[in-house]
């Protein structure tokens, strides 16, 4: 296990380095346009351009430029926005992280619970009416743009039915957990559900097919022959083995969520997280902020994937011997 952990983190560090080089090449070594002009934002004056030039060492060779970028991002953490003059980027990101984590973790809990419940029921009721419905929900889940679903939810809860059924829904925005836990949960409820609804369908679908396979295995037949009840077979035998691939899927999707759907959901629900920070930066072409959020989010995703892989290896010893 220790060896597996070491190799896995070694791979993660390699990937982190490669991603930072890739981002560096995209932002600073793309031929054609002067990177200084791009970082300084639209219509920057000569002094700003010179400042950018010096700060990122744009007249220096590539490796030094790379080192300077990494220094500004991770060592000195003094990357500044040139669009919103003088605003430090990294503290902005650090401030936004709890919002994004609140959104993603809450949604993950909901979709795991709902997905596992739906998948188990679908497998228990195979051939009945609920089964194809769950399959269809899974397909619809990968087909609906999440930000659009969020807008539809807003339309219903904030406007069309706000005077009757949904009068208890607070206006869009975010309240920190430390300030008022109840209000925090209430503000995040619909963003959570929006994200979770789509993923729950996919997970139910995957779990259903895993459990179908498991239910045909010999150990299930043996359990039946021993006279174990159907419910017990379903939960303690079939479900337990089928959960393993779900964990690895979760690792991938959690990362994709932080770097993707969460970004879009934050924009729609007005949550001041990393995603919205990126969105506003994109609107102003505020490159230092984009650079910062992209690298920090990518690093977080890679590390969380590594952690999920370790959990996976702890659950399933076979994985350690690859």
């Amino acid at each position: 296990m220790a060896r597996f952990a070491l190799t896995r983190f070694g791979a993660a560090i390699f990937v982190l380095l490669s991603i930072s080089v890739l981002v560096f090449l995209i932002f600073f070594a793309n031929p054609g346009v002067d990177p200084a002009a791009r970082i300084a934002g639209r219509n920057a004056d000569q002094a700003t351009l010179a400042q950018v030039q010096a700060e990122f060492g744009l007249d220096q060779p590539l490796p030094i430029r790379y080192a300077l970028m990494m220094k500004h991002l991770f060592v000195d953490r003094d990357l500044t926005s040139f669009v919103n003059r003088g605003v430090l980027v990294i503290p902005q990101i650090v401030q936004a992280v709890p919002v994004t984590l609140s959104l993603v973790l809450g949604a993950a809990v909901i979709w795991m619970v709902a997905g596992v419940a739906m998948g188990t029921l679908a497998a228990a009721w195979r051939g009945r009416a609920a089964d194809p419905v769950i399959v269809l929900v899974g397909v619809v889940g990968v087909s609906i743009p999440v930000y659009w679903l969020g807008e539809v939810v807003n339309l219903v809860t904030q406007s069309r039915l706000h005077d009757s059924v949904f009068s208890w829904v607070p206006p869009l925005g975010y309240v920190p957990l430390t300030q008022d836990p109840a209000s925090w949960a209430l503000h995040l409820l619909f963003p959570w559900l929006t994200l979770a609804v789509l993923y729950a369908g996919i997970y139910a679908r995957v779990l259903r097919s895993e459990m179908m396979t498991a239910l045909d295995e010999d150990y299930v037949r043996t359990a039946r022959a021993k006279g174990v009840s159907e419910r017990r077979i379903l939960i303690t035998h079939a479900l337990r083995c089928s959960l393993i691939p779900i964990v690895s899927l979760f690792g991938l999707d959690f990362g994709a969520l932080v770097g993707g759907s969460a970004l879009l959901t934050e924009v729609v629900f007005g949550l001041p997280g990393v995603g919205r920070l990126t969105y506003t930066a994109l609107q102003n072409l505020d490159l230092p902020v984009i650079l910062g959020t992209v690298l920090y989010a990518a690093f977080f995703v890679v590390l969380s994937n590594a952690v999920v892989d370790l959990v996976y290896a702890a659950l399933d010893p076979r994985v350690r011997h690859v």
Binding site: A11, F14, V15, S18, I19, L22, V23, I26, F27, N30, P31, G32, V33, R38, G138, V139, V140, G141, V142, S143, I144, P145, V146, Y147, W148, L149, E151, V152, N154, L155, Q158, S159, I202, L249, L252, D253, G255, A256, L257, V258, G259, G260, S261, L263, L264, V267, T278, Y279, L282, Q283, L285, L287, I290, T293, V294, A297, A298, V301, V302, N305
Partner: protein, 354 residues
């Protein structure tokens, strides 16, 4: 065939020549034809294909709709324009009556295909016409990005799997990095840099704001999704006897790849094509929504949703219509893709997208 059947088919006065003895050997069709037959019997897949075909056809008719039916220019703003509803001339953008009375409210859906069927957007442009034009762009980007992705991934996967060693080492590490890089973040980084300047790849120059830029970006970020399974398949194929035999008779690497490897991985690539088209289209819409996809004055379903963001509570049709179009198209493509997968390669497993 039995004698009864023969007699039935030969009703009439003419004596028929002695029936051919029953043939027990069933002509076997190639794998592609077998799969096609199976696909045809899959009702969900066929229905999806029809739905997709209708959407495609309607979108292709966009210029016809705009010029002949709606008589509108979907790319020119029409701030001061008027239109006739129930005999009354009304402005396309009416002054807002709610709140502070600032801003304007575009007219809502008239449900009359000859003018403003789905209402107007914030600039007084016909949403229906823009929806059709936007659909053309969304479908075009979705399809060509998927095609580019599948071709590049096919080449990468086959080369990495076939040659192994250092080629595999380098290509696989590259795929690992792109795979670990969250798709949207990579696409955003590429878009934000390339969209302002365009990009030159060898002799081809793709200008800033070109539709081929999102095609290129989306095509590239999804390569690992397709290349990794193909590489695995090629690794397994290399162990097969027919490859050993081909090596034994002295075939060149190129010939083995062309005659033995590629035909065997082709079904996987075909399975991926509709699913990747759906995924690419969804990615395009998300990037356009974030304003780093299709650039104005061009439209796509994502940009129209973005246009409707400020009008959500007053004129929800601007937002709802393109979203429904995206969802319908993606469901159709996914169900059709599932049908192809079942017909061609029942063991393939795919991961859901964002």
């Amino acid at each position: 065939m039995t004698a009864t059947a023969d007699r039935k088919s030969s009703e009439g006065s003419q004596p028929v020549p002695a029936p051919v003895p029953p043939v027990t050997v069933v002509t076997s069709y190639g794998p592609w034809r077998t799969a096609l037959g199976q696909l045809r019997r899959n009702r969900a897949a066929m229905a999806s294909l029809v739905v997709f075909g209708v959407i495609l056809l309607v979108c292709l008719l966009a210029p016809f709709y705009a010029s002949t039916i709606a008589h509108t220019d979907p790319f020119a703003s029409n701030v001061a324009g008027t239109t006739v509803i129930a005999g009354q001339t009304v402005p396309v953008l009416a002054p807002s009556t709610t709140g502070l009375g600032l801003g304007v409210t575009p007219i809502g859906p008239t449900w009359d295909p000859t003018h403003y069927f789905l209402g107007a957007d914030g600039q007084g442009r016909d949403v229906m016409a823009r929806l059709l034009y936007g659909g053309r762009n969304s479908l075009l980007i979705g399809f060509f990005a998927a095609l580019l992705c599948c071709v590049l991934a096919g080449i990468t996967g086959v080369l990495a799997g076939y040659f192994g060693g250092i080629v595999d080492g380098v290509l696989s590490r590259l795929l690992d990095v792109v795979w670990a890089f969250p798709v949207y973040l990579l696409a955003i980084s590429l878009s934000v840099v390339l969209l302002t300047s365009g990009v030159r790849i060898g002799p081809i120059f793709i200008g800033a704001g070109s539709l081929w830029l999102p095609v290129l970006i989306i095509g590239i970020v999804y390569i690992p999704y397709v290349a990794r399974p193909i590489r695995g398949q090629v690794l397994a194929l290399k162990e097969k006897e027919f490859v050993a035999a081909a090596i034994g008779v002295g075939s060149s690497d190129l010939r083995i790849m062309r005659r033995d490897v590629v035909p065997n991985v082709a079904p996987t690539v075909v399975v991926f094509l509709p699913l990747m088209t759906a995924l690419s289209m969804l990615t395009e819409s998300a990037l356009s929504f974030l304003s780093v996809g299709v650039q104005p004055p061009q439209a796509s379903w994502g940009t129209i949703i973005n246009d409707g963001l400020n009008l959500l509570y007053t004129r929800p049709a601007v937002t709802l219509a393109p979203g429904i179009a995206i969802a319908l198209t993606a469901v159709a493509l996914n169900l059709f893709g599932d049908g192809i997968r079942e017909a061609l390669d029942p063991r393939a497993r795919l991961r859901g997208g964002p």
